[in-house]
Every structure is written in structure tokens, then in C-alpha cells.
């Protein structure tokens, strides 16, 4: 239980997928212009990362590992995730129209994002069990949502500020991302300290 809490804390704050690992920069810059779209994207990411990690964990441990094909991990995961998201989209379109409409365009957009693949691979690399992998995935995705919402909030305010021309748009976004990453750097090592405290 305590271990799960530390994994979640670590995934959300210490190793935040956007700010510490710097994965998934495309949506971080592209969908952070308004809070509402950031929210939609964040929810879609939570949804996709969680189901993708659960599926790839099963694929890895029951197909790739027994067949000694772990070296195909990256390409197989990409294929599986893309297929899975497409499949889920079909399913939602027919059976959960409300969810389909609220996730809307964000679902296919996030499919082949490196954050999704990154979390799937990290869950394998960290030797998590199935349940722990799902926790880790959901927490990482929540960290994504958190960072994306912060960025969108900042950028909405930036809209009204006069910036020197070279800084406008992506440039200032990347600078802010850097400053936010520095702020989150303050969390570094906290997960290790916590787990050593728990184990003593």
C-alpha cells in the first residue's frame, strides 16, 4: 500500500512525465493555449495511457518475454497502442457516445504520442506488477494533466501581456516549460527519501 503511494507520488511530482522526463512535448506546447482544451486532452491522456499500459504489460509478459522477442518491444508497443486506441474509439462511438464526444479529437491525437509509449516502456523497465503498472500509468497521466493545466493557466494569462516579438508563441512556452521543470526539480529525491523512511 505504502509502496503504491510512493510510486504514485513519484510519477505525479518527482518524475513528472512532462517536466522531469520531458516526454509528450507536442501536446504540452500545442494544446496548452486554453484551459478547456488542456482539460480535454488531459482526460484523454489519462484514459489512453492507462489502458495502453495495461495492455502492453500483458503483451510483454505473456507474448514477448516467453518468445524471447523483447527486442521488438518498441515497435510492437507502438502497433498495439495504435490498434488499441482505434479499437476503443470504434467501441466508444457506438456504445458510449457521451464519452466519445467529450474525448473527441484528442483521442486519435494522443495515440502515438511518446508519453504513452514512454509510460508503457517505463512500467516494464521498472519491473512493476500488473496492478502497480496500472497505478503508475494513471498517476503519470495525472501528472501530465497537472502540468498541462498549469501551463494552460499561465498561457491564458500571457495572452494579455505584450511580449517582445521573438519570444511570442512556442518560444515563451518552452521557456516557461523550462522554469516549471526547474520548480518541479525541487521534488527530486523525495521519492527515494520516502521509500527509505518506509523501509526502516
Amino acid at each position: 500500500m505504502m509502496e503504491a503511494a510512493i510510486v504514485i507520488f513519484s510519477a505525479v511530482f518527482v518524475n513528472n512525465i512532462l517536466l522531469a522526463r520531458y516526454l509528450g512535448n507536442c501536446p504540452f506546447c500545442g494544446v496548452s493555449k486554453s484551459l478547456s482544451s488542456a482539460w480535454g486532452m488531459g482526460i484523454a491522456v489519462i484514459f489512453v495511457i492507462t489502458i495502453a499500459t495495461a495492455t502492453t504489460w500483458i503483451i510483454h509478459h505473456f507474448i514477448l518475454d516467453p518468445l524471447h522477442l523483447s527486442y521488438l518491444q518498441t515497435i510492437v508497443f507502438i502497433l498495439v497502442i495504435a490498434t488499441l486506441v482505434q479499437l476503443v474509439e470504434f467501441f466508444l462511438q457506438k456504445n458510449a457516445v457521451a464519452l466519445y464526444q467529450s474525448l473527441g479529437i484528442y483521442l486519435p491525437l494522443i495515440t502515438t504520442n511518446c508519453a504513452v509509449l514512454g509510460v508503457a516502456i517505463l512500467a516494464i523497465k521498472n519491473n512493476y506488477g500488473f496492478i502497480m503498472s496500472v497505478f503508475f500509468a494513471a498517476a503519470s497521466a495525472f501528472g501530465f494533466l497537472l502540468a498541462l493545466l498549469c501551463m494552460a493557466g499561465i498561457r491564458q494569462r500571457l495572452e494579455t501581456v505584450i511580449l517582445p516579438r521573438p519570444f511570442r508563441g512556442t518560444a515563451i512556452t518552452l521557456i516557461i516549460a523550462g522554469i516549471m521543470a526547474l520548480a518541479f526539480y525541487g521534488f527530486s529525491g523525495m521519492d527515494a527519501t520516502l521509500s527509505s523512511l518506509v523501509h526502516h
Binding site: 521488438l72 515497435i75 456504445n95
Partner: protein
């Protein structure tokens, strides 16, 4: 088997399985689409301006076919657009009522009192962050012309710190309505009666314009008197305040500021 052969075979097998699963899913989960949606979409201008209230032309087309909206859904499309949609839907044509943007504030910075002078970026959204703009009146136009910049058809010009909207140029796209941080621009029907009626208080307040000070509970502080943007309040030190109904524009300022909350 060499790793090369294994890899190729495995990926081919996996790819085929994925393809078969997706094809089966596409068949199984297929949602029958109404061909009229495509037809209506083709008839719409396709600029996705969002003036109709839907997220784009595709959403508007779907709404028409669902019966939520009529042939006159498109506000910027001319008569031929509604005629074409009516033909597809085999309905009587009902043209959209043309809507135009309308500013509900009628007091420029000289007319209405200011609480402070603002020296930040000349953008209403920035000024709004600082105590909601300089005017004492809660619904007062901040007057930095953010709507003027937002207008795609140059229908808005700033005159005496108030936007003036040219009804002939306005397409009713609603961009100024969305960008105005004070929410004092509204889309109204372009008829003389509607245009005459909706000004400041009449628009903002809707029906409740009768402000009164409770003479017994008034603590005689004079805050309402000092902040009234149109000097509609009579007050002397040691006496309860009184609102002159003819002058009151119903801006809520006194009600908002009254310490014992006895204005209503």
C-alpha cells in the same frame, strides 16, 4: 530460424491480426451515418466560424439533421445556403434571423467615474485582472478596444473609449462577445426595436431596476454616494442616503459596495 526471419514473421503476424481485428471492429461497431449530414455539410459555407453556436459546420449539419436546428442555422450564409439545406431536408425554408453585436454600456470614461487610473498594457483582458477595470460601475466598458482588435471584419471602431459597432459590417460572428472580459457585448436581433431598447442598465439588469436604500438600516457612511458613477445618490454626513430613480442606471455599484448591504 534466424532472428531476422522470426522478427519479420512475428511482425507480419501481429500486423495482420491487428488489421483483422480493426476491420472486424469497424464492421461490428459501425454507426450508420445519415447521408443527409454530408449533404448539409456540403451546402454550408465550411468556414467553421462558430457563429451559429455549434463548434463548426460539421456539428451544425449534424444538428440540422437531428432536427435541433432548422435550415436557417447558418448566420453568415446567404439565402441560397438556407434554400439548399431546406431542399435537402425537404422543409419549409426559415431564414436565420440576422444577429449583430451590441455594446450594452453607454458611458465612456469621461461619463462614468473611475476608481483609479490604469497604466498597464492597453488590453481589456489585462485591465480586467486589476480589480475588474477602472470604472466604478461593475458592468462598465473598460475601453481598451480588445473587441476592435478581435473583429475580423473591422466593424468596430473606438470612439471616446467606447466601441462603436457598425451594424452594416457586423456579421454576427460573436468573436467580440467571446473576447470581452466584461461580458457586455451581446448578440441581438437586428431590428430597430431591439436596438433601441437594450442599453446599459436595461440590458444588464433585465427587469430589476428599482434600487432603494433601506432608510432605517442605512449606516450613513456615504460610500454609495462617493462611488455612484452617475451621481444619482443624495447624501449628507449624518443622514441616510437616497437614490434618485430618474438618474439611476442600475449598475449595481452601490449595492455591491454597501457595507451593511441595505441597498436592494
Amino acid at each position: 530460424m534466424t532472428p531476422l526471419v522470426t522478427t519479420v514473421l512475428f511482425m507480419a503476424a501481429l500486423g495482420s491480426i491487428a488489421a483483422i481485428v480493426l476491420i472486424a471492429a469497424a464492421r461490428f461497431f459501425a454507426v450508420p451515418a445519415d447521408p443527409r449530414v454530408e449533404a448539409v455539410l456540403a451546402a454550408l459555407p465550411g468556414v467553421n466560424c462558430g457563429a451559429c453556436g455549434y463548434s463548426g459546420c460539421a456539428a451544425a449539419a449534424a444538428a440540422v439533421v437531428r432536427g435541433e436546428s432548422g435550415p436557417g442555422v447558418c448566420l453568415i450564409g446567404k439565402a441560397e445556403v438556407s434554400a439548399a439545406i431546406a431542399k435537402i431536408m425537404q422543409q419549409q425554408e426559415t431564414a436565420a434571423k440576422r444577429k449583430i453585436a451590441y455594446l450594452c454600456c453607454s458611458r465612456n470614461t469621461a461619463d462614468a467615474k473611475s476608481r483609479f487610473s490604469y497604466n498597464g498594457p492597453a488590453d481589456c483582458r489585462a485591465a480586467m485582472i486589476l480589480y475588474g477595470g477602472g470604472k466604478t460601475c461593475a458592468g462598465g466598458c473598460i475601453g481598451h478596444g480588445t473587441c476592435e482588435t478581435a473583429c475580423p471584419v473591422d466593424a468596430i471602431t473606438m470612439k471616446n473609449n467606447l466601441p462603436v459597432i457598425d451594424p452594416a459590417r457586423c456579421t454576427g460572428c460573436g468573436l467580440c462577445v467571446k473576447i470581452c472580459p466584461k461580458n457586455i457585448i451581446a448578440l441581438i436581433e437586428d431590428t430597430p426595436a431591439a436596438v433601441d431598447k437594450k442599453r446599459c442598465a436595461e440590458y444588464c439588469m433585465q427587469d430589476n431596476l428599482q434600487f432603494e436604500v433601506d432608510q432605517e438600516k442605512c449606516i450613513k457612511c456615504g460610500i454609495c454616494f462617493k462611488n455612484c458613477p452617475v451621481d444619482a445618490i443624495v447624501w449628507e454626513k449624518g443622514r441616510p442616503a437616497f437614490i434618485e430613480k430618474e438618474k439611476c442606471i442600475g449598475c449595481y455599484t452601490c449595492m455591491r459596495l454597501c457595507p451593511p448591504k441595505v441597498i436592494g
